[in-house]
């Protein structure tokens, strides 16, 4: 148990109690695609006690260029099942729970209620709107990310702070059709999400709260933008 985590137990400020916090933590990862392929193995490897996966899709050949959680022999297999198998092999000391469903208004609250932290690895704005509403209602912290082509963005949303809708606004354009995506861009942004999750659960460092971190792989470069709670936000505002 201790040997597995020796290199993180060597971290500054990381004690055996920190590790016990992780062992008691319950994290839900919504979506097991490109972002999830980075988030899931890092969380499970770090010793999160319970990792939930919400995913109803099956592995497709076109996924494998970026969804490195899966093997060619997994094609046609439900992602939640293939991911669980892979993650259990990575760390048999923790629990993996698969929810083979889409997140929907009828099941979101019941699923999220069983977790302390939610990681947004979804691929559409409708799912994020639902995640936002549900996390607001249940006062759950969550880590938003999205990627497209050579670009990615990530931010951490805590109860009482600005919500995803404060950042995204309303009346915004609909999602564009699925675009190309460079595989490691999803891995990079997913790795930032996993880092934020581990920091949030262990109280380490400062979080990307009220800060949108943006990656442009073509430059390449990072940019950071602060944002505030919108008092007129239809999701969390008073008006």
């Amino acid at each position: 148990m201790t040997e597995r985590y020796a290199r993180q137990l060597n971290l500054p400020h990381w004690t055996p109690e920190t590790q016990q916090h992780l062992a008691a933590a319950r994290v839900l990862v919504v979506g097991a695609g490109g972002l999830g392929s980075a988030v899931l193995p890092y969380l499970v490897a770090a010793g999160i006690g319970l990792t939930g996966i919400v995913e109803d899709d099956r592995v497709d050949l076109t996924n494998l260029q970026r969804q490195v959680l899966y093997d060619t022999q997994d094609i046609g297999v439900p992602k939640a099942e293939a991911a669980s198998r892979r993650l259990a092999a990575l760390n048999p000391d923790v629990e993996i729970r698969s929810h083979r469903t889409r997140l929907e208004p009828g099941n979101a609250a019941a699923i999220l209620a069983g977790y302390d932290l939610v990681v947004d690895c979804t691929d559409n704005s409708a799912a994020r709107e639902l995640l936002n509403r549900t996390c607001l209602n249940l006062e759950k912290p969550w880590i938003h990310a999205a990627v497209s082509e050579y670009f990615g963005q990530v931010t951490t949303l805590l109860p009482g702070g600005p919500c995803w809708q404060c950042l995204s606004g309303t009346g915004a354009p609909a999602d564009p059709p699925p675009a190309g995506i460079l595989g490691p861009v999803a891995g990079l942004i997913g790795s930032v999400q996993a880092t934020e999750a581990l920091k949030q659960l262990t109280g380490t460092g400062r979080l990307l709260v009220e800060r949108l971190l943006v990656w442009d792989a073509l430059l390449p470069g990072w940019a950071e933008f602060s944002y505030r709670r919108n008092p007129d936000c239809w999701a969390c505002g008073r008006g």
Binding site: G31, G33, G34, L35, G36, D120, C121, T122, D123, N124, S125, A145, A146, V147, S148, E149, Y150, F151, G152, Q153, C166, L167, S168, G169, A172, P173, A174, D175, P176, P178, A179, I181, A186, L212, V214, D216, L218, L219, G221, A223, E224, F225, S226, Y227, R228, N230
Partner: protein, 79 residues
């Protein structure tokens, strides 16, 4: 007056001359709003999801002053 416009992700194609490390410097007469600036830069407003002025969230109607830095993002939805 001078303002800076930074376009991100797929919006970069509307400002191919934007320096890699900072925004496109534009000379525009006041009164100026975010939407007027974007129109002058040839950016279709319906392609813009998030606007930041001086690193803070803003709307299309926000008035701009000399030296302001505007950043615009398209919807980024993939996962």
């Amino acid at each position: 007056m001078q303002v800076e416009l930074q376009l991100f992700a797929t919006l970069r194609k509307y400002a191919p001359d934007q320096p890699l490390d900072k925004g496109l410097v534009m000379n525009v007469e006041p009164p100026l709003t975010v939407s007027i600036l974007l129109e002058k830069a040839g950016v279709p407003l319906d392609k813009v999801k998030i606007i930041m002025v001086n690193n803070r969230h803003a709307g299309f109607d926000q008035e701009l002053a000399a030296g302001d830095r505007v950043a615009a993002f398209p919807p980024v939805a993939g996962g």
